[in-house]
């Protein structure tokens, strides 16, 4: 088992911007390819699809649908 990697809310959304999680496209245990949409978030202005920064298997969702996170915050882990 490889080490857990962190998935953070990307900086493209702006510094210290709060976004709410709209929809996780993957569930824990599911495989994803680099670049594939992992999660859709909603900022004050736009809906944004967060692409997977690497290929892997989703381990744990830290910020669930309906909850919010700020840019840089860990929203999930994967390996």
């Amino acid at each position: 088992m490889s080490e857990l990697k962190e998935i953070v809310l990307p900086k493209e959304l702006g510094v210290d911007r709060e976004s709410s999680i709209v929809l996780w496209y993957k569930e824990p245990g599911e495989f994803f390819e680099k670049g594939e949409t992992l999660v859709e978030v909603q900022t004050e202005k736009v809906a944004f699809e967060v692409p997977a920064p690497f290929s892997g298997v989703l381990s744990e969702i830290k910020v669930k649908r309906g909850e919010s996170a700020i840019t840089g915050q860990v929203i999930a882990t994967a390996n």
Partner: protein, 341 residues
């Protein structure tokens, strides 16, 4: 008629709608969409997000702010063999386009002796609960259900939203497809659990004339539609803790209405509560009560309870709005009184 495929993914109501539209547009090049802000913007309640980039401006057409114009244009397009899907941004705006809807869309098939078919889907966002005030919060289920010549559906869960939208698109008759804003699962609205659910990936159909028993029970029947189904299910969970076993019917279709499912349920439970997010007078609660009084009277052990928005404009004030829209607590109170009779 119902065809269900196995591979499922969790989607919001909005994503389920988009998937239905995309799959049908890929299948049939005669299908196109018109409406206000349904292009690049993707529909203000997320009904068409991403479709403009996939299909371009010939098939995803942003229109000027004239419901009379573009919904009227859908009549001509359909009469000439295309299959338009048009979005009336809020059901509340139907006033300016009522001639097109009830004299043209609803009646041309009849007036032409069956020679002209109008395979139009009119999608429209309904419902309140988010402080959008009196002119943007109505469901108006009954206003559309009253008119002969139209099928009117209002699915609740993502699975039904996709399946019923596909059936509506494939139907050669006009269908009013009402989607509830809160059930779209949008990031800027309250995100409730009911707006996310498993949806088969492939295209499938669900009939436009069948209600669905979403919870089985024996003590009382609660009939709801869209958010009132959601509230009824919440109420049923709490009632179960108190030993009352409620059956919940999700109406899904306003017209034609599935009398069979309702009457069969009442034959078992002998008690009925109808809950509606539309106005009280002349609405769904009145219609269902009349059906049951006429055709299921012998099965009733207690008077029918009707919960609906009192005959007032829906208030902007969040507190007052919550007061007028029926909720799980109102349903629980009614059911507890009803089962004692």
């Amino acid at each position: 008629m119902e065809t269900i495929k196995e591979k499922r993914k969790k989607l919001t109501g909005s994503k389920a709608m988009i998937q239905a539209l995309e799959q049908e547009m890929n299948r049939d090049s005669n299908i196109f969409i018109m409406g206000e802000d349904i292009g690049k913007y993707g529909g203000i309640f997320g009904s068409t997000t991403g479709l403009y980039d996939k299909f371009g401006s010939d098939r995803i057409m942003d229109t000027p702010i004239s419901e009379t114009g573009f919904i009227g244009a859908s009549v001509g397009a359909a009469a000439e063999g295309l299959r338009p899907v048009v979005e009336l941004m809020f059901a509340d705006f139907h006033g300016v386009v009522m001639d097109q809807i009830y004299n043209h869309i609803a009646k041309i098939h009849y007036m032409s002796g069956g020679n002209v078919k109008l395979p139009i889907v009119l999608m429209t966002a309904v419902g309140g609960g988010y402080s959008d005030a009196a002119q943007h919060s109505q469901t108006l289920y009954a206003s559309f259900g009253h008119l002969p010549g139209l099928k009117v559906v209002a699915p609740t869960f993502p699975h039904d939203i996709k399946g019923m939208l596909i059936t509506a698109i494939r139907d050669d008759n006009p269908v009013i497809f009402m989607f509830h804003k809160t059930l779209q699962g949008l990031g800027w609205m309250d995100q409730i659990d009911a707006s996310l659910g498993p949806v088969p990936e492939e295209a499938y159909t669900i009939p436009l004339d069948k209600a669905n028993i979403v919870r089985e029970g024996k003590d009382v029947t609660i009939v709801g539609v869209q958010m009132m189904t959601v509230e009824a299910l919440k109420a049923a969970e709490k009632l179960a803790e108190q030993g009352i076993d409620a059956e919940v019917i999700d109406l899904r279709s306003i017209k034609p209405i599935d009398k069979e499912t309702i009457l069969t349920s009442i034959a078992k439970t002998n008690r009925l509560v109808v809950v509606d997010e539309d106005y009280y007078s002349y609405g769904i609660t009145a219609e269902i009560s009349a059906i049951v009084a006429s055709e299921g009277f012998k099965d009733l052990k207690a008077p029918i309870v009707r919960l609906a928005i009192p005959d007032v404009p829906i208030p902007y004030s969040r507190v007052m709005e919550k007061f007028v829209i029926p909720n799980a607590d109102n349903i629980i109170d009614s059911v507890k009184k009803l089962v004692k009779i």
